[in-house]
């Protein structure tokens, strides 16, 4: 099942220049996303997954900076575009849904106007037409048209996130980036929002989904990338990875995730995630890894293709292993 390639990230590096030092939030990440695909980036807090999402439409804020790499989207290198050109892609070809629907909407504008604004901005249409279209969009995300005149504070979290999605998909972007869009919401609302997102695949969009919940990712996405300390450690088809997680971190994450439907022995991963301003040498997971070997402390494992996925672990490649 190989669709047409939509997004290709190559050796992307995003660093934060802080007082504590340089935080390498995204360190040499390469990824691809095909059309009509639902890709989940799974990782814990501070692993750089959110930075990765922001980097695609060049929304990384100072002190963060995209240091190197390429982001090809619809055959354009986003990193080489002018500010004006990237602005035209944002919201138009790439939609973005933020984690917190309580803060990602302008509190002083009616939600309908916020939808209209993006239509007017990119399509230069009349306000009246924009309003009509905005109402359709509200319906599309499961809200009634009368919500047009509501202010964000008058809506519940779920409703706000629906509005945010309506804005993000208003111009039928080919890529929708969703940065933990359900973390601030309840499970039942989460389930509904996820249904909504999944339905967008059928409308021809691809979804770049960020989450810390491997269960949620495994349930909804076609493909999963596991991120740890600024790096992709394992990536591949969801079903394969869930069936046979290869990287010890993926295994640990799965083991730490409880499941009411399954009697299993849940266990923590020992230790704490590393400080990205001062990451450990070698494999960044080696301090917490049950299988850590000498080489893990010394040398960073390359991301190699194996069993229908990519994985970065010395367990699966020797020192002379095939680098990419």
């Amino acid at each position: 099942m190989s669709g047409e390639e939509l997004l290709k990230i190559k050796e992307l590096k995003v660093h934060y220049y802080t007082a504590k030092g340089i935080v390498k939030a995204v360190d040499n990440v390469s990824l691809e996303l095909r059309k009509n695909q639902f890709l989940s980036i799974v990782g814990e807090s501070g692993c750089g997954k959110s930075t990765l999402a922001h980097a695609i439409p060049r929304l990384v804020r100072p002190p963060g900076k995209i240091v190197s790499g390429n982001i090809f989207f619809e055959n354009k290198d986003l990193l080489s575009l002018s500010d004006e050109d990237i602005r035209k892609i944002r919201g138009h070809r790439i939609g973005f849904v933020f984690q917190d629907p309580f803060t990602s909407l302008d509190p002083l504008e009616r939600v309908g106007d916020q939808i209209s604004e993006v239509l007017i901005e990119h399509l230069k249409i009349e306000k009246k037409d924009a309003k009509e279209r905005a109402m359709e969009l509200l319906n599309e995300v499961g809200l009634t048209e009368d919500r047009y005149n509501y202010y964000p504070h008058q809506l519940s979290g779920g409703q706000r996130q629906r509005v945010a999605i309506a804005i993000a998909i208003a111009l039928r972007p080919s890529l929708l980036i969703a940065d933990e869009p359900t973390t601030a919401l309840d499970v039942m609302v989460q389930s509904m929002i996820m249904d909504l997102l999944q339905s967008l695949i059928k409308k021809g969009m691809s979804i770049f989904f960020i989450t810390h919940d491997i269960a949620l990712a495994s349930e909804r996405s076609d493909e999963i990338a596991i991120m740890y300390a600024g790096k992709i450690v394992e990536q591949g088809q969801t079903s394969r990875i869930i069936a046979e997680p290869m990287h010890p971190y993926t295994q640990g994450l799965m083991a730490a995730t409880p499941d009411i439907w399954e009697r299993k022995n849940v266990t923590s991963i020992p230790g704490n995630p590393p400080d990205l301003a001062n990451p450990p040498k070698g494999c960044r997971f080696h301090e917490r890894c049950r299988f850590a070997m000498e080489i893990c402390k010394e040398k960073e494992p390359p991301l190699i293709s194996l069993k229908g996925r990519k994985v970065a672990c010395w367990l699966y490649s020797d020192e002379n292993g095939r680098d990419n």
Binding site: D100, L105, H153
Partner: protein
């Protein structure tokens, strides 16, 4: 709930606010020297003083004086000045108030204009510009009005001789009194010379007070701008491809709303500054009136003016609150 009901309640709430202020004024002023002695001067026989005391109700118990005081104020009776002219206090206040209004409005416009411009620029652009904006806000905040006014007087009045150093109009160019606000009256009178004269006299005092106050707005707007620009919804706007100019407008709107609440409180500072500015520039407003009347120990006049200030402040705060409620949809009234 409807806006007008909120307005009604907000207006009703003025009454207790005023009561508190009036009580403070009463308590503080009753402790100052004997007003009757001040009034009759040094040559009055004791029996005259006694009868005057009785007439003024000063021999009554304090609580009765308090009730009388409130009753009189409530019925708009501010009494008669005790020194110099013996006119109704309200007339004296009304003679002077328009000048203060003219000064404060002009200074307010100056401060908000400068404050908004610098604050927005500093918050939006950051970098070196921001640093100079910050320094501006601190320095202007620390400026001492009489001193700063003096410098402006020296430079523009004495040295360059392009602007007058005091008063409200040139001799013979005081406009006929319609509102008492010279700039307005001269326009009503349709006399360009008068208008220019009034405006020229207004420039230095308004700049002095306006610049000193602008720092607060600069600072507040800059900080708000930075806060707002750091918020996710601004990033969300960018993620939607909204152009910078529109984002700037959105962020100004968001940053401006807290400034609006400040304006009510700033108003007290504005009036404080007006007292000093008026003194520095011989501006015949309420501030100089209070200073003059204190010098005569004109008890009723001072009381009247202070009460008037209290009412004025209370009303301005109501207006600001109402505008605020009108502009911010999040206010539930």
């Amino acid at each position: 709930m409807k806006l007008w009901k909120y307005i009604l309640i907000r207006v009703l709430l003025v009454i207790p606010t005023l009561l508190v202020l009036l009580s403070v004024v009463f308590i503080v002023l009753r402790m100052i020297g004997d007003p009757i002695t001040a009034m009759v001067g040094m040559k009055a026989p004791p029996n005259v003083i006694a009868s005057l005391r009785e007439e003024a109700g000063l021999n009554k118990p304090l609580y009765e004086q308090y009730i009388d005081y409130l009753y009189n104020l409530f019925t708009g009776n501010f009494g008669t000045t005790m020194a110099v002219d013996h006119r109704p206090v309200l007339d004296v206040i009304m003679d002077r108030f328009p000048a203060t209004l003219e000064l404060t409005i002009a200074a307010f416009i100056v401060s908000v204009l400068i404050g908004m411009l610098t604050g927005i620029m500093g918050g939006w652009k950051r970098g070196k510009l921001d640093a100079s904006v910050r320094i501006y806000s601190i320095v202007s905040y620390a400026l001492f009005i009489p001193w700063f006014g003096l410098l402006l007087q020296l430079v523009f009045g004495v040295y360059l001789r392009i602007l007058p150093t005091g008063g409200m109009a040139d001799a013979g160019l005081a406009p006929p009194r319609y509102t008492g606000i010279y700039v307005l009256d001269s326009l009503i009178a349709g006399n360009l010379d008068m208008f220019i004269s009034s405006l020229k006299h207004l420039i230095l005092p308004a700049l002095t007070l306006g610049i000193v106050l602008s720092g607060v707005y600069t600072r507040l707007l800059r900080n708000n701008m930075i806060d707002i620009l750091g918020q996710e919804f601004i990033l969300a706007y960018r993620a939607r491809g909204i152009s910078d100019s529109k984002i700037l407008l959105h962020s100004i709107k968001n940053a401006f709303i807290p400034v609006l609440t400040m304006m009510g409180l700033q108003f007290a500072i504005l009036l404080t500054g007006a007292i000093l500015t008026e003194t520095t520039f011989s501006w015949p407003g309420l501030g100089t009136m209070i200073v003059e009347r204190i010098q005569y120990t004109d008890y009723t006049a001072v009381q009247g003016a202070v009460v008037f200030f209290a009412i004025f402040v209370a009303i301005v705060n109501v207006i600001v609150d109402i505008i605020y409620a009108f502009l911010d949809p999040r206010i539930s009234y």
